[in-house]
Symmetry: C2
Subunit: 424 residues, 2 copies
């Protein structure tokens, strides 16, 4: 019997360190280019290598019935093929990489073409983002923000426990890890100022989030349920929802965040498939009051996915961890978010990206934004060498990491990193 690609006992002929994010149980998809003038194309991460799916297809080792899917500069054409093909393809790639399969292992010529050292590639945006939506689904985060701005007794808004609150973000500025982020300018009206002025953001923040990549469409006018929504999810990425707190604060009433969030959103380059995360599904927090029937879920739709945040302030040589939390704390699951998103009849498209909302946990060191970590700028975080930060300064580098811990292996996401450039 053929072992399932998630089988913990599998291992590849490609050497993979137990602390690597990319063992054979993962096989995340990305878009890469390497020297030699070949255009960006689809690959899979395995250990310290990228497996070039286009080369495998050319050699007749992989066939998805769409010759353009792997030579495309985004994963959108592959995602369009649907969940069955996603699963078959992953199973075939797993088979090709297994230690006991000579097909690729013993074919030196093909191996040289198809296995590219990760150090030699450039990673690109893995998808063309159709729409970007950002949710607000961590109860701990929403409560922290609420206590800061409205006090303890009115921390959660009245609607928060009844639906996954979200807003449409700006798809045009979703960028891949490593893209430098220019400090935005905007209208600022600090407390006490009579009138707003226009200038560089002074309260630049990150938000630790996961992003859901939608791989199948749903038509306008129709709703989804738990099962149909889950099947549309191709996979997940790390997502940093960069936020200009001062711009946001002045602009957001009554229509929500706009320029305070529009300047950049960074995602990790590898999309970890929903299938690879299956073994790490867990029940989310109890929901009280019970959600309305359309939002109720039978399956455990949360994930035991460890997350941490590293900050390398401009003068520092190494990054320091400023948050360690877990995706499992989210009050509203990604499936509930997607069901709610389509509930009015809103059409969903291949390439839609759904941000989970900032992921904070119950403990103080589990806060997923500087707004919370520095408690609105009043408690600076102490970094090494006496350096302190309330918000991000020019030259600072912020990185998010995430992984699910298996027995002797981890299914990881790599990282999403961004360094702050001074305002123009």
């Amino acid at each position: 019997m053929v072992p399932h690609p998630n089988d913990p006992s599998l291992y590849s002929f490609v050497p993979v360190d137990p602390t690597s994010d990319f063992p054979i149980q993962n096989l995340p998809y990305g878009v890469f280019s390497s020297g030699g003038g070949l255009a960006p194309r689809v690959g899979v991460a395995i250990g310290d290598f990228v497996l070039d799916l286009w080369e495998l297809e050319q050699d007749g080792r992989l066939n998805v019935g769409d010759l353009g899917a792997f030579s495309a500069p985004t994963l959108n054409p592959f995602m369009a093929l649907g969940p069955k093909l996603w699963s078959h393809t992953r199973a075939r790639i797993s088979e090709l990489l297994r230690h006991d399969n000579p097909e690729l292992r013993d074919n030196e010529e093909l191996r040289k073409l198809a296995l590219v050292p990760m150090a030699q590639v450039k990673l690109h945006m893995p998808i063309a983002v159709s729409g970007y939506t950002d949710f607000y689904s961590s109860k701990e985060h929403a409560t922290n923000v609420g206590v800061m701005f409205r006090g303890k007794d009115n921390a959660l808004q009245r609607n928060w426990l009844h639906m996954p609150i979200g807003y449409n973000g700006r798809a045009s500025t979703v960028v891949v890890s490593g893209t430098k982020v220019r400090r935005p300018r905007g209208q600022l009206k600090p407390p006490g100022a009579e009138l707003p002025s226009f200038g560089a953001c002074r309260r630049l923040d990150f938000e630790l989030e996961m992003g859901v990549v939608i791989g199948q469409p749903s038509p306008m006018g129709e709703m989804l349920d738990e099962v149909s929504a889950a099947e549309m999810i191709f996979g997940f990425v790390l997502l940093n929802d960069w936020s200009a707190r001062d711009i946001q604060q002045w602009e957001y009433v009554p229509l929500g965040p706009f320029q305070g969030k529009a300047f950049a959103t960074s995602i990790s380059p590898w999309i970890v498939t929903r299938e690879a995360l299956e073994p790490f599904r867990v029940q989310g927090p109890a929901q009280d009051p019970a959600p309305l029937p359309y939002l109720q879920q039978v399956q455990p739709n949360n994930y035991d996915l460890q997350l941490d945040v590293g900050l390398r302030a401009a003068p520092m040589k190494e990054s320091m961890r400023i948050c360690r939390t877990n995706f499992k704390y989210m009050y509203w699951s990604s499936v509930q978010q997607l069901v709610h998103h389509a509930s009015s009849g809103c059409a969903m498209n291949i390439g839609d990206l759904l941000g989970s909302g900032t992921i904070s946990g119950p403990e103080k060191d589990q806060r997923g934004s500087l707004l919370e970590i520095s408690w609105n700028g009043t408690e600076p975080v102490e970094l090494s060498g006496g350096i302190k930060r309330t918000f991000l300064e020019d030259g600072d580098s912020l990185s998010l990491h995430g992984w699910c811990q298996g027995d002797g292996y981890r299914v990881g996401f790599g990282e999403v990193e961004g360094t702050i450039l001074p305002a123009q």
Copy 2:
């Protein structure tokens, strides 16, 4: 000397009624298909005909240096060619249609191919919408809504006079005129209800808006000014921002409208170019306080553009006018909206669509939504035959019209119509 395509004295060999929206001074672009199995392609409206640009190109009468631009199913490839090409192309089309040019007029074979009666075509979405943003820039509308929900003394929010307030809408459900609109379902919490319930929207509304079509991109991290922003505007359409007031009311704090606006936005099929609207530019209302420097404008960026709204309630045979207003009343111009949109460094893309926000005027019969016309449902509008409406009912048809009145001709937009289907 060649007359400018806007010259009021021009006329075409194609007969055009003085009340037609599409004289030779207009030449709006759209995407159409006709019988005979040809795929949707680019055309220009002239009187009761569509001029097939692809046929003209095939015949060597029109050359934009991009053979795919007119056979494409959207105007995005043509828009990508830039403002100089837009202008040259319009001048050449004007020349081909002039009464005194025999090129097309006397070429019966080509005329038969290239001039398709409008009654025989199907009109499609003219653009692939990259991002859809909706503003809130009529002072009269914002004041009316403010008075209704917060009282006279706090009608305008503190930030409203300082920037064009807007939010990101949902691009996936922007549809062309004639597309039926299904009444959305969603979470409702009517006044007095203890808990929300899920059901069909009971306060379904339209919003009379203009849409700006962005035809050129701007890079991430860079700002625009009045001149560079204006040059990116390809043209304008009528836009109906369908709104589920009850869903919106319960969901919108603190992140803005989401499912209450996500189910549908309708636009008119013909894009009237910025150039065709040049003769109708007027100064907008005085802005007090003066906008911050980045939002100041030297040019008159408003348009004297008449607008009306027709409602045909389900039992009625003919539509009745329920609003007559003018685009010139807008407090923030489309150019200011675009400059603000990019002010944080937000990249703009070809195919971005910017809704102006509901266009209301100072008078009672100039209100551009049923929310205002019926004053939050308390003053039903009386239609013919004793029929009354506070909000839209199933089977109702709502249409917007707009035109600039020249001396003996009008540069018009046609209409955007939508009929309400019952909730699923």
